[in-house]
Amino acid sequence: MSEQRIIAGVYHLSKRLGRHFSLEDISIQIANGEFVFLVGPSGAGKSTLLRMIYMDDRPDAGQVVVGPHVSTRMKRRSIPDLRRRIGIVFQDFRLLPDRTVFENIALAMKVTGTPMGEIKQRVTEILTHVGLYHKRHDYPHALSGGEQQRVAIARAVANRPSILLADEPTGNLDAMATKNTLELLFKINAGGTAVLMATHDIELVQGFGQRVIFLEHGRIARDRGMVYVGDVRDRIGESQISRRAQQLRGHDIPDGDQ
């Protein structure tokens, strides 16, 4: 077991958004290598909370700490550095339509000024990891939703972030793609990257034994604060991930995929 270290923390965070909605007194700490589900119905404030972690927005009260960055004394110009420590994945993938798979992932490394040789090596490595190396020259529109999400995840981990934030990453995907995406996230987590995945799908997260934070009406309703570091798949087995996704989506998943 590796040593526990808090890599991202939210402390007594409050944020008003409009007249009827606010996040109130939210505190969450995420240790390195942890996998955390953030669950709540649509409009519970999950996306807002994530946005505050990657500092696209600032809390009204309380603070967010990610690595050396503290929201209350953070300058605008250090935001790029923060973003390079965090991988972010969305429901709608947010790939650049005029770039190939390779270029989309390479972009994340180009902004840090990584030499081209290193970029090529790393992108090849990640693409192999997510099973899309053969599609490296394709444009996003030629890929399925599941494949696009894998590219987005590959881009998010290109710079080896200490934490990956995923906002409804399976929201647009069918059962099989959901399973593949979850598996991929578990696999990445097994490599030591902490993952915070927001989803409205309560059933999806059950049965994995991971820490689950329930967010309701802008408050933390429950934080099953167990910390388990390691590969989820070792514990529950691939078949269970598959079964869960299948139950949830009501589709058959062919064997031997990926």
């Binding site: 790029p80 972009l107 710079n159």
Partner: protein, 290 residues
């Protein structure tokens, strides 16, 4: 802050942006080029009118008619005195016979009209050419008033009417022209600025993605600024190409038409590049702040 590798990537980004969005870029360049064409055509028309007016005033001469029977000595004296007047460049003598020959030439085909005359009615005269810098109503009025008093001078003539009406007309023309030019200039700037801004706005999402993956402002902005500048240059070259076509075409009907000066055109290209770059930069500022 920015290393060579990043700089190279920014140039790559610019190339990707230009290369993969050819249609959008082309439309922007054509819109900008056509509005710039209005501006350069206007400038060329103004230039030609100004030159025409200049040439007309340059051809203005003062005619000093001598009294009948003025002897050579007095005529020589008058010529000498005319030459020493301020603002006079050249004085040439036109004898009455030369004047008649000129008149005959003008009345070509109707020479018989002159045959009716018992003798040559035309006087000897001096043609006074002013120095280019002293051309103007003031010179002609002053000189005519003075020379008219001299011994042996019958009459002094110049294009009085031209100066009375023409000069006011020319002034009026330039005021209107300047106002019109200013309006065209501002509209063209507005069109270009907006076109560039729309080009940037179309890529709002791409900019958001860049921010998400941790791109710094310079990394995001530079390709856009370069793109704006390149669009500006392309648009100005398009405008110049079309202007050249228009020039060649209209020269067939209006020989002697003047084309824009090359250094002015070079300045125009630089100006358009700056306009594109600044437009792009200021559009970026809003997006980056949000």
């Amino acid at each position: 802050m920015i290393n060579i590798t990043q700089l190279r990537y920014m140039l790559d980004e610019t190339a990707i942006m230009l290369g993969r969005r050819k249609a959008a870029g082309l439309i922007a360049v054509v819109i900008m080029g056509l509005s710039l064409l209005i501006l350069v055509v206007f400038l060329m028309v103004t230039l030609n009118i100004a030159e025409q007016i200049g040439r007309m005033s340059e051809e203005m001469r003062l005619f000093v008619y001598l009294k009948d029977g003025t002897d050579q000595a007095l005529a020589g004296n008058i010529q000498y005195r005319l030459l020493s007047l301020p603002g006079v460049e050249e004085v040439s003598f036109i004898s009455r016979d030369e004047a008649l020959a000129e008149l005959e030439q003008m009345l070509e085909g109707q020479e018989d009209l002159l045959g009716e005359l018992p003798e040559n009615p035309l006087p000897d005269a001096f043609k006074v050419k002013p120095k280019p810098e002293s051309i103007g109503a003031a010179f002609f009025e002053r000189t005519a008033a003075e020379v008219g008093k001299w011994d042996g001078v019958e009459d002094v003539r110049y294009g009085q009417k031209w100066f009375e009406r023409g000069e006011r007309l020319v002034k009026g023309f330039f005021v209107v022209d300047l106002a019109l030019g200013l309006i065209i200039f501002l509209s063209v700037i507005f069109v270009i600025y907006n076109t560039v801004r729309l080009t940037v706005m179309q890529r709002r999402r791409a900019i958001d993605v860049m921010k998400l993956v941790g791109a710094g402002n310079t990394f995001i902005q530079l390709p856009f600024i370069l793109e704006g500048a390149l669009h500006g240059i392309a648009a100005s070259l398009l405008a110049i190409a079309l202007l050249t076509a228009i020039y060649i075409f209209s020269s067939r009907y209006l020989p002697g038409l003047t084309f824009m000066r090359y250094d002015a055109l070079a300045g125009f290209v630089v100006f358009c590049a700056l306009l594109g770059a600044v437009g792009s930069y200021s559009a970026m500022q809003r997006l980056l702040r949000s």
